[in-house]
């Protein structure tokens, strides 16, 4: 009798688990679905009351309108350049520094590492005005370099890769050193290849946050041809105040590149973010 009721309550739990997971999934997916459906409706249909769910007439001009009102080609390139160089800088410089902090002995190590830790705790807004003024002073606003600028080095990346190197036994490096590798070769040929998972995680972390960044691109590049997808979208919002079908089409254009990458590297994305988590 008792086991019977236990089994019953377990089955109830399973049903409830699926119920909540599926209901939650619907809530998570619905806004995306609504974005797609709205982008396929004419302006008139989008403002019908009550709203139609599927478009009565599939209307593709919204995509054309979004493409003609924003230079999406340039936005893709600018965003791509910004993400690419921020990722490269984060990997190269953070690997070097992370390795030195984890495995090498040198004077000033603790003080310098404290600099890294303190920066990690600071919100980026505290740097924005002076960073902008530095660029403005040398006439480098409205450029690709300006988009990359705050991401030239990464305190978080340095900390994160230091942790990765800490996890590698020092004996491996010492053996390479005894085999005749110099310090650089030991790092580059032996130790660096062992941090692949962490580098992948850092890549994803850096790319996702650079892509989402809004304030910096908005401040530093006001020329529409120099904007990123995020800041461009903010401009589109100003142009098409209430023409939501066009805004939805533009949002879809802005989301597509990262969504495609996510569909392909879904596991790496989630596990990478879980690994870098806590930042």
């Amino acid at each position: 009798m008792r086991t019977g009721s236990m089994q019953g309550s377990r089955r109830l739990f399973t049903v409830l688990t699926y119920f909540f997971l599926i209901a939650g999934s619907v809530l998570m997916v619905f806004p995306f679905l609504w974005m797609i459906l709205t982008s396929l409706k004419s302006l008139g249909e989008s403002m019908q009351i009550p709203p139609t769910f599927f478009p009565a007439v599939y209307y593709f001009n919204n995509f054309k309108d979004a493409l003609t009102s924003l230079p999406f080609g340039a936005l893709y390139i600018n965003t791509g350049i910004m993400v690419f160089f921020r990722v490269i800088c984060a990997i190269v410089f953070s690997s070097m520094a992370g390795y030195a902090f984890a495995k090498l002995r040198f004077k000033g190590k603790n003080v310098l590492f404290t600099l890294v830790l303190i920066q990690m705790m600071m919100p980026s807004q505290i740097f924005v005005i002076p960073q902008y003024e530095m660029l403005a002073k040398v006439g480098l606003t409205e450029s690709h370099f300006a988009l990359i600028f705050p991401g030239l080095v990464s305190a978080f990346g340095t900390f994160f890769l230091r942790q990765a190197y800490m996890g590698i036994p020092s004996e491996i490096g010492e053996a390479a050193y005894l085999d005749g590798c110099n310090q650089w070769q030991t790092f580059y040929k032996v130790m660096l290849p062992l941090t692949g998972t962490s580098i992948a995680a850092l890549t994803i972390f850096t790319a996702v946050f650079a892509y989402a960044d809004l304030m910096w691109p908005l401040v530093v590049n006001t020329d529409i041809n120099m904007m990123t997808l995020s800041s461009g979208l903010a401009t589109l919002k100003g142009q098409f105040m209430t023409n939501y079908p066009v805004l939805m089409a533009g949002s879809l254009f802005a989301m597509v590149p990262m969504l495609i990458l996510y569909l392909i590297f879904q596991r790496q994305f989630i596990e990478g973010i879980a690994l870098t988590g806590g930042k």
């Binding site: 688990t17 070097m96 310090q183 997808l229």
Partner: protein
Amino acid sequence: MSKQKTMVAKQEQRWAWLMVAPTIIGLLVLNYYPLIQTFLLSFSKTKTFGAVEFNGIQNYIDMFQMPEFWKATWNTILFCILTVPVGIALALLVAILLNAKVRFKGGFRAIYFLPMVCAPAAIAMVWRWMFNGEYGIINSILGVNINWLTNPSTAILACAIVAIWSSIGYDAVLLLSGLQNISKSYYEAAHLDGAGPIRQFFSITLPMISPTLFVTLIMRMMASLKVYDLIYMMIDQSNPVIPNVQSLMYLFYREAFVAGNKGFASAIVIWTILLIGIVTVVQFIGQKKWVNYDV
């Protein structure tokens, strides 16, 4: 021998300095110099042509006398209160459900994580449309007629809902990795002792997950105290509801880059950092009461 050893140590040191140099120089130029500049700017007045002049604590006096500033501080705290507890609780629920034996676990996880890979700018756009007072789908579904984004009492709630929706997946993934570290044997033992699922949650799951929960909580609080992009995209600068939703960082942006009061804006940033610092310290003191490290 010992001479050779010091040679080696010296060489190691030289390599180390070379390897940390780009990062350290970068941090000094990109972060530490700006940090000092922002601090100094907060005690200065911005004049025409970008010149600045020291004016003591005038910016802070002005700030503390500005009702809009206090309102923004309250909005920021309110946003934090509205988003963090509910968001974390829902994320924990999702994590626990995903940790159960379910099919399509990977698929569910991917769906909940989806907002993380979409720029907040794009996400805000569709939510603005769904919250639209005249044609929005949310009003149609709920059968109500609320001007979510132009009504002073609902605008911040709408922003909070979007923030929670955006962050659940990310937080759930972090919490899930914590849950997966809990040994199954605890649950088996509890099961043999006749403890039901609710009891198991409070005596096993919650204490065991508390360190991860604490990290997630701290991170989420810091992020919500710095909120800017979401509100910027949800609420237009011309929307009269602005004073009732703008966060400190939104006010900062408007003062620094729209109004051009860089000194005053710097004072707002310093204040925000103090606020984040205080909240974080309180959290770290409070954690002793509920976070369980001796596992």
